[in-house]
Structures are given as C-alpha cells and as structure tokens.
C-alpha cells in the first residue's frame, strides 16, 4: 500500500511540471476559475434579491452550501475526475488501458488518479476562505457533534461520487464514444449549489443516486447546519455501500469484455 502515495506524488510532480510549461494557459485557467466562482456568487445574489429564502435556506446558508459544493468538486477535479474523463475518451478506444493493465498496481486506482489537476489550487484557496467566512457568520448554528457528522458525511459523499463517476467511466468498455456521460454529470453538477429540496419530489431520488448532485454539497452542509436527520445519514451510508458494489461490478464486467486494442 505504501507505494501508492509515492506513485501519486511522482505523478503530481510531473503534472505540475507539465502545466508550468504552458504558463499563460495556467494563468488564464486559474483566473477564469475565480471569475467563474464570482459569477455563481453573483447568481446567488440575484436569486436572493427576489426571495428571502430558497427551500427554507437563507442567503448565508446557500453561500455556505455553495462553498462546500465548490470545495468538494475542487477535490474531485484535483484528484480523480480528469483521470476518469481521459479514460472515458481514450482509455479503451485507443488502447491506453493496455499500458495500465501490464503494471503491478491496481488498474482502477491508477486510471482514476493518474491525471491530477493542480490548477484548481488557487480557486480551492479562494473557496476555503469563503467557507471559513461563512462559518464565522453562521457560528451560532454550528455544534461540534454536527461538525463531526458533517465531516463523516463529506467523506462518504466523496466516496459515493468516486464510485459512481468511476462506474460511469466504465461505459467506455461498452460504447466507443461515451465521454459525454461524464461531461453530462459535470455540467449538471452546477446545480448542486442549491438545496436539493427545491427540486420536485419525483426528481429527488435521482439526485441522490443516478445524478448524485445532492452529495456534492447538500448532504454535508445539511449536517453542518443541523438540518440533517438519521434518515439522511442512513441514505448516505446506503448509497455509499450500493455505489461501491455497482462500481466493482461495472469494472469487473468491463474488464472481462475488454480485449487489447494495441499492437
């Protein structure tokens, strides 16, 4: 197990060096992400200029939800999303998987974590400041027990998102072009900045499973603000276990179907 952090650190170092080659692109990308975040904050302000609350959440609570969502999404993007995206584009079609399968490491882990994205760091810092600022504003609603449960729910959420996104990436085994599935999840995730309760009842089960935007922000923030209950916690744990098994099944069946494309 010790070799995995070492391998990841090496990959991270190489990726950072490669990114520094295109400094203008990196600069524009970093600035753009912060502008993108400011755009969403502006959007929230417009929303709350029309109403006092949204799904029972105040403006400050929604901004906290937005910062949690952006932090979680940033972590996902920094660590594994790009790797899965690359896999869904070319992993099977171009035979890139061959190079991974012949190495003495877990193929799924190497695929997922092989393309870290350090470019998200400036915007992660920006969001972390916003998150802390919102915590100060809402400190009256925060209790140590809630913070602990929220942290646990946050880790469960990241596990769910990893297993589900990774399962979607395995569509590459079954369809020649399947990259739009992950892109769809990425685009739709922009809506995770609002409380999931505002969406219609019939849609909510999908937002807690197939399109898991509820876990990007709503679930951890609900616990942080003391709005979460036992039912929500059991749903989170249940979805985590379910998504783990779905993921295992998806990769095993995908690899069974796979035949080498190269040589």
């Amino acid at each position: 197990m010790k070799k995995y952090p070492r391998i990841y650190f090496q990959i991270l170092r190489m990726t950072a060096a490669l990114m520094m080659t295109y400094r203008l692109n990196l600069l524009v990308q970093g600035s753009f992400m912060i502008v993108y975040l400011l755009g969403f904050l502006f959007l929230i302000n417009i929303v709350f200029s029309k109403t006092q609350s949204l799904g029972g959440w105040t403006r400050d609570e929604v901004i906290l939800l937005f910062s949690v969502y952006t932090l979680i999404w940033g972590i996902i993007e920094s660590f594994f999303f790009e790797g899965l995206r690359q896999f869904s584009i070319s992993g099977v079609k171009n035979g890139d998987l061959d190079k991974v399968l012949t190495k003495p490491v877990n193929a799924q882990l190497l695929i997922s974590f092989s393309t870290p994205n350090p470019a998200t760091t400036p915007h992660e810092v920006f969001v972390a400041v916003l998150f802390i600022h919102q915590l100060f504003i809402l400190h009256g609603q925060l209790y140590p027990a809630n913070v602990l449960v929220a942290t646990f729910a946050g880790f469960c959420s990241m596990g769910i998102l990893f297993f589900l996104y990774s399962s979607y990436a395995t569509l590459a085994f079954h369809f020649t072009n399947s990259s739009q599935a992950l892109r769809a999840l990425e685009t739709i995730s922009d809506n995770a900045q609002y409380p999931t309760k505002i969406y219609p009842q019939w849609l909510q089960p999908f937002l807690f499973s197939l399109i898991p935007i509820a876990f990007l922000g709503y679930v951890p923030t609900s616990f942080l603000l003391g709005r979460g209950d036992w039912k929500l916690l059991w749903i989170t744990i249940g979805v985590l276990i379910g998504s783990f098994f779905i993921n295992q099944f998806a990769w095993e069946s995908g690899l069974k179907k796979y035949s080498s494309a190269s040589s």
Partner: protein, 259 residues
C-alpha cells in the same frame, strides 16, 4: 457539392456514436430543466408578483433549445493545428473554415432537432402551454443558423490562436462562459440590474438567448425585433471578419514538415 458530401459524412459519423449524441442532448436539456426548477422554487417563495411561473418555465425550455448553438467545443481544431493535421486542408481545394463549420453545424443541427422533439412534448406533459404563433416561430427559426454561424466564427477565430500559443482552451472557455452567463441562458436578463440591460443591448450577448426567446414569445415590439435582427447580423459579420483576419494572419507564414 463537395460540402454537401461533407455534411452527409459528418451526419453518418455523428449517428455512428448515438449514445454520445443522446448523452450530449441529455446533458444540456437536464441542466436547463434543473435551472428552471430553481426559478420555479423562487417563484413559489417570493412575495414579488412580477414573477410569472408560466413565462419562466417557457423561457428555460426555449433557451434549452438554443443552448447548443452557442455552447460547443472547437478543441478538435486546436488539436489539428497543434499536431499539424491542419496542413492537409491547406494543400487541397477545401476551405478549412467551412469544413469544420459543416461538422460542428451538423452536430448542432441534430442536437437542436432532438431537443425540440424532446423538450416541446415535455413542456406539455408538465402542464405548460407553448404560447407562440407561426410568424414568431418562423423568425426564431431564421435566427438559429445566424446565431450558430456567428458563434462558430468567434470560436474558430479563438481556436486559431493555437497557431501562436500551445494551449488556448482556457481563453476560449473563459469567453464561452461570459457568453453563457451574460446571454440570459442561466438567468433571464429581466432579473439583472437595469444598468446592465441598457449596456448589454449594444453587446452581442443578448442575441444568443434572451432576445430570440423574447421574440419567440412575442414580447418584442416591431422596432425591437428589427433592432435584434440587425444587431445579430452585424455581430455575426464582425465575428466572421475576426476569424478571417486571424486565419489569414496565421496561415500567411505557416510552416509544416513531415506530412
């Protein structure tokens, strides 16, 4: 004739990967449907009487149809420039701009048709009326290819910056985001500050979503409708001239080896 052949080949190519096409359509449609639910929630909770639920839902369904005409990626052009594949178009009697346009246009056309066939019945299923007349539908339909042509010209010009820079994706995406945000795709511009509205009348953003949808719903006066079409055509022409200028500058001293 040769470009008609390209269209047919592009169509076959896109239809080969049907799953990807369906997911792409789902991606845009679902995003807009979720945004419309946000505004429905606002309409439920607000004390303001000026927000009309019917209008908001219709607005978002129409923008969902328009979305793919201004939100698409021309990264394949950047890759062709970077890897030198663009050279093959320079030595053949083919215009690279039109070739890429036909490929991207075929995708946009297919997406728009699919979205229309999905979104319009969905609007009825959710219990909302269409509320438009034939004349406005015709005008709206005419504006669609112009919107796409203008935006493709702009993105093609930006992608051509790859002749000078190795990585230009972030520049193109930043500009795309500005258009996405300021065109009224995410927020109907009536909710924006009044000062913004008066400034943006002279900019190209409104022409991509807000103005066409307002026109389709018959909310623009005759003068405003004419102003919208004139503005759309002028900005499209400017974007076309922009890409033409960049392309000429780039290919003027272009060198390639090994092809």
């Amino acid at each position: 004739m040769k470009y008609w052949l390209f269209f047919k080949i592009s169509l076959q190519d896109i239809l080969t990967y049907r799953f990807d096409l369906i997911m792409r359509t789902f991606r845009y449609a679902m995003n807009i449907v979720l945004i419309s639910f946000v505004w429905l929630a606002i309409a439920r909770e607000t004390t303001m009487t000026s927000i009309n639920t019917q209008d908001i839902v219709r607005y978002y369904f129409f923008t969902a149809i328009l979305y793919g005409l201004s939100n698409f990626h021309t990264d394949n052009i950047e890759e062709d420039i970077r890897l030198g594949a663009i050279s093959k178009y320079l030595v053949k009697p083919i215009n690279a701009f039109w070739l890429y346009f036909i490929y991207q246009g075929t995708t946009a056309l297919l997406e728009t048709v699919i979205k229309m066939t999905v979104m319009v019945p969905l609007l009825f299923v959710l219990g909302f009326s269409f509320g438009i007349d034939l004349l406005h539908l015709l005008g709206f339909s005419i504006s669609l290819p112009i919107i796409f042509f203008g935006m493709f010209s702009l993105y093609f010009g930006l992608s051509c910056l790859a002749f000078w820079f190795q990585a230009v994706e972030s520049i193109r995406i930043s500009i795309m985001f500005c258009f996405r945000f300021l065109s009224g795709i995410f927020v109907p511009l009536i909710f924006m500050p009044p000062g913004f509205l008066s400034i943006s009348r002279w900019l190209p953003f409104q022409n991509l979503a807000f103005q066409p949808v307002e026109f389709l719903q018959g909310k623009l006066s005759t003068t405003d409708s004419i102003a919208f079409f004139v503005s759309l055509v002028v900005w499209t022409a400017l974007f076309f001239l922009f890409q033409n200028f960049i392309w000429r500058k780039a290919t003027h001293s272009y060198e390639s080896t090994g092809i």
